[in-house]
Symmetry: C2
Subunit: 269 residues, 2 copies
DNA sequence: CTAGTTCGAATGTCTAGACAAATGAAGCAC
DNA sequence: GTGCTTCATTTGTCTAGACATTCGAACTAG
């Protein structure tokens, strides 16, 4: 425990294995963040583990403290570690780790839940939309949108009815693709370079119509979960407008929230 | 337009009005972030506005570049501005601004939506909970939890039924407070120092029971939105377990999502 | 007019220090 | 023991620079 000793003998920690390449194209702070990130993901650094002091890590990596802090602040933002003045840097307990609210397609969502997603195409129309839809997409009078109606299945069973709308201007020729087989988001990204960046969802509960009951094979006295989703691209332009009707007995939406650390925007009345 | 001119004369920008106090207890970078943040909130800096170069702002504020970047990176994380190498720093368009998924109590949620929240206490019990609840709170055999049933109203109309459960150990004497008048979260924070840090919600659609219909004054053929919420504190300990049953015709949940910028944790299957 | 080049300007990354402030433990007085 | 003080440790904040990288505009050659 004498400082004269610890400076001469290198303590072996999980960090000893980290090697950084100062000449690599990825910046040093990212290399370190990723390295520590995978130590966290693999469980080598369990929740509650106290990281070595910054100055020790700096010496070990041969970098300056500001660079190390750039890495740790990244992980701190993600909620994976927690630094406290006078105490140290501690690995966060899993429950508090930020579970990012993701922009996910139906297929991705189902796969994330461990199911097998499928689709049956009901209709694919190219039509001049009603006023609210036209306004959302900021279209001129006669511009058209694709309206794609599908039954979405999980493990072979009907789970949801989906009506996706997307302007023709963004993806001309969309009807050529087999939307029963492939994910709409995949087609949009691969063939048109369109990527969703943000979305707003409004989740409500409704009594199903008789047509919905039939298409979903709904038992009596079952409600449906309706999700209206607005999707935007990186350039803030609207991308997609979707209404999904889920079987209430087989699906529920999961939302993760965390107190935001930022002191900005405290505009609560 | 001549650089020789602009160096001698100070260009007047919205940033000229920002004054920082180097001796204040709030760090400089926070002062600047907040100042720019309110310029953004007030609309003085409209979307698309290009901020002056970092070096110019540094000189104006009399600070070093790293300190300024600490401020702008905060705002960048929040999605309020967007810095691009070789280009500059631009104010983000409003649609892409991160709308943080907040941990909110019923009262806060209703107020955020511009309504007046109210409560009617139905019952407040102190009981030994069933196994699933006991497991969630990690309680021993005979430890009790408060079970608080309330009708939650918006603008005088019943909107939801809420059953909140919280361990007695965390807040002994909770029954002394007037939970019809004050928010449970406020009591927990002010009188017991308990603060929710994160929560997980599961949102589902159900057909109401006849009792729920009566208490909520539900019209026929109306579904209810059921939200089961698990709340945790900063130390990862469970704080509260709540089941809320909302009128489906008057309430829908709003969820905002954004693609995360981090390259970490890309563990998609 | 077009395509390629050059170059200035802007942010990105990094350094090697400095002092401040919070924390918790050890020691001390009682 | 109990409560207070002291102190070493640790992260938080900040500086004044350096060079790298990217972008787009202006210029040039054809």
């Amino acid at each position: 425990m004498d400082s004269a000793v610890t400076t001469s003998t290198q303590t072996i920690t999980p960090f000893s294995s980290i090697r950084i390449d100062k000449d690599a194209s990825t910046p040093i702070y990212l290399q370190i963040a990723e390295a520590i990130g995978s130590l966290l993901a693999s469980g080598v650094l369990p929740p509650g583990y106290v990281l070595p002091p910054e100055r020790v890590l700096c010496e070990q990596f041969g970098i300056s403290r500001m660079t190390l802090r750039q890495a740790t602040s990244l992980l701190d933002r993600e909620g994976l570690i927690n630094s406290r003045r006078g105490v140290g840097t501690v690995v966060t307990h899993s429950r508090l780790r930020k579970q990012q609210q993701e922009v996910r397609s139906f297929s991705e969502e189902i796969r994330a839940r461990g199911g097998r997603p499928e689709s049956r195409l009901i209709s694919l129309d190219l039509a001049v939309p009603a006023a609210p839809v036209r306004d959302f997409f900021e279209l001129h009078d006669q511009q058209k949108v694709y309206e794609i109606q599908r039954v979405r299945l999980k493990d072979g069973e009907p789970l949801a009815l989906e009506l996706a709308r997307i302007p023709e201007r963004l993806c001309p020729g969309l009807e050529r693709f087999d939307l029963a087989r492939s994910s709409l988001y995949e087609v949009l990204e691969r063939s048109y370079g369109l990527r969703p960046e943000a979305c707003n969802e409004e989740i409500s509960a409704e009594i199903p119509t008789s047509q919905q009951r039939k298409l979903l094979g709904l038992p009596a006295r079952t409600a449906v979960l309706v999700i209206n989703r607005k999707t935007y691209m990186e350039n803030e332009r609207p991308l997609e407008l979707t209404r999904s009707v889920f079987r209430g007995d087989r699906y529920s939406a999961i939302v993760h929230s965390r107190k935001s650390k930022s002191i900005l925007q405290t505009t609560s009345s």
